[in-house]
């Protein structure tokens, strides 16, 4: 451990000052995160509708939640969106990182271009893609102007396809981020390993597939974590792009929670769905954090 000073060397003030300084943040965290999680948990067991109502109803809100078709659409959409967003973003980001790592002229400029969407708000991204994908004057018209008049692209207003427009915009915004993470990882790999493999006659794709990418396992896992986390939390992009529609065909848990709690007067159901979201995130994050913290302590 790095505690280099025995208490004897501290004055009274210096022994308590660090605790005192940390106290406000500690209290804020305790109250506004842990206290609020408990409070929200309590709300999810009450009859709250438009206003909080602390009459205990047990699991009734969860039963309502699980019987709600709209909630299941949101869960299904999260799976569709999550897997395609993570898979697509990952594939594209890794490909770009590996390609950029080949001593490319203008790498700095390209990197800047790939990453700028990450500086944008999801609301901006959603607004922009909403215009480009709109069936009237957007992409569809462009392809018609090119002579393919039978081309239709109505995903934005097609209940079966609307969630995929969120995937398109999500990958556009986040794949540059994956690129940056993997590029940083690639730069940390010893060049001599690659050179040695090349001398042994291995081809470049083979070297990357068998040696370099396996060495990036930690980067892979932390990227996976971040993307999964973005996916579960995603709210803004859906609101701006489809508003959850048409109907509720592109709802995700975050928009479902918002609608229940703040626009449809079903506070108890909203609180219950928020607890389910927390449980999902915790199921992913807690094992990861545990292994990370343990790893950093021993290694």
């Amino acid at each position: 451990m790095t505690q280099f000073n025995g208490p004897a060397q501290y004055g009274f003030a210096e022994r308590w000052l660090p605790r005192l300084v940390l106290a406000p943040s500690f209290l804020l965290t305790l109250v506004f995160i842990y206290g609020f999680i408990a409070w929200n948990g309590y709300l999810s067991f009450t009859a709250s509708r438009l206003l909080p109502n602390y009459e205990w109803v047990g699991l009734a809100q969860y039963e309502t939640l699980f019987a709600n078709e709209r909630a299941w659409v949101a869960v299904k959409n999260l799976f569709i969106f999550g897997s395609l967003f993570i898979g697509g973003g990952m594939a594209m980001g890794i490909l770009l990182a590996v390609f950029l790592d080949q001593k490319i002229r203008g790498e700095g400029v390209l990197r800047t271009i790939y990453l700028y969407p990450m500086a944008l708000s999801f609301i901006v991204t959603g607004t922009a893609w909403k215009w480009m994908l709109n069936p009237g004057l957007g992409l569809e018209k462009l392809v018609h102007d090119w002579g393919f008049t039978s081309f239709t692209f109505d995903w934005l207003v097609n209940p079966d396809m609307s969630i995929y427009t969120v995937v398109i915009a999500g990958i556009w915004q986040s794949s540059g981020f994956v690129m940056a993470l993997f590029l940083a990882g690639l730069r940390g790999i010893d060049d001599s390993i690659i050179k040695a493999a090349q001398i042994d006659g291995a081809t470049l794709p083979r070297i990357y597939w068998r040696i370099v990418l396996p060495a990036l396992r930690p980067v892979f896992f932390s990227t996976l974590m971040i993307l999964a986390h973005i996916a579960i939390k995603s709210f803004d992009l859906v609101m701006a792009l489809t508003g959850g529609g048409p109907g509720f065909s592109s709802d995700v848990p975050a928009t479902f929670m918002y609608a229940s709690a703040f626009t449809r007067g079903q506070m108890g159901v909203g609180a219950a769905s928020a607890m389910m979201m927390l449980a999902t995130v915790a199921a992913i994050v807690v094992p990861y954090l545990y292994s990370e913290l343990r790893g950093s302590r021993h290694g």
């Binding site: 003030a13 210096e14 940390l22 609020f36 390209l110 790939y114 901006v124 556009w172 803004d236 769905s273």
Partner: protein, 285 residues
């Protein structure tokens, strides 16, 4: 071998340039659409260059576009965001710096646990605190105000700013602190005279990170504000989803660019720090 190599290089550059076009196209479409008239948008197509450039859509987006019932453009929202983001960023960054300093250089019994408890706040889905927070802000008289939004962003920003600073300060040799202590410097003196002067890179990273996060936030904005306290992201969303009149895509795009401009400017000027923040945020622990 040489020929094959050449071909491979060409393919490489081809793919990279193609990707660049893919990322730039939406920006190009936004900018060109925003300077076209609606007539031209209807007559032309998505990627056609504007025949005549007009800034009508920009002035409309800024000062007279309808965002629901009120038709004052985005200017009010924009200034709300400015008023919100400056104090929120400064306060959350200062708290993070102090916390990180304590958690790395003044560890005490239970400080690791405190860190773990704070750290978890980086990961929670904020949906789980929305309802209690709405109620609490009401009790404090902060509901639907910019001050309330500042408070929320500070409280929920502490986790990531603390993490950033703590991870950076762990890398400062303990010997340095020890030496300063032997010279008789105390807690605050060491922080201001030794640690803070070495912190420029991490301060930049955290300032930019927080600025981008808070400026781009939509969830807190839409839940905790209303009417004349709403931030720019809510204004933009209202504007783009107002269905009262004929859709004006040029105004939508001008509005989107206005909302994006501050973070884009920061990215262009200080992209190095932004990228460092993103990658540092990814490697936790």
């Amino acid at each position: 071998m040489d020929n094959q190599n050449k071909l491979w290089r060409i393919a490489l550059y081809g793919v990279l340039l193609y990707a660049a076009v893919y990322y730039l196209l939406p920006l190009y479409v936004m900018v060109t659409t925003s300077v076209k008239s609606m007539d031209e948008i209807r007559a032309g197509n998505l990627i056609a260059l504007p025949m005549s450039i007009t800034f009508d859509a920009w002035s409309k987006a800024w000062s007279s576009a309808c965002t629901g019932v009120d038709c004052g453009g985005l200017s009010g929202y924009f200034w709300n965001s400015v008023k919100m983001v400056i104090p929120a960023v400064l306060i959350s960054t200062s708290l993070g710096a102090i916390n990180g300093y304590v958690l790395s250089k003044w560890r005490f019994r239970g400080s690791e646990l405190t860190f773990a408890l704070i750290l978890f706040g980086v990961f929670i889905p904020f949906q789980v605190v929305l309802l209690p927070m709405a109620q609490t802000l009401g009790w404090f008289g902060l509901a639907r105000s910019v001050a309330g939004l500042i408070f929320v962003h500070v409280v929920f920003g502490i986790a990531s700013t603390t993490l950033f600073f703590r991870n950076y300060y762990v890398g400062i040799p303990d010997e340095l602190i020890k030496a300063a202590r032997l010279d008789g410097a105390g807690f605050w003196r060491i922080f201001f005279k030794v640690v803070l002067p070495m912190s420029t890179p991490i301060v930049m990273v955290v300032l930019i990170w927080q600025f981008t996060q808070i400026w781009n936030d939509f969830l807190f904005g839409v839940v905790f504000s209303s009417g004349d306290s709403q931030p720019i992201t809510v204004g933009l969303n209202n504007l783009a989803n107002t269905s009262t009149s004929v859709k004006e895509y040029n105004v939508d795009m001008a509005a989107a660019i206005i909302a994006a401009l501050p973070t884009i400017v920061v990215y262009v000027l200080a992209g190095k720090y932004f990228v460092r923040g993103l990658t540092a945020g990814a490697v936790k622990g």
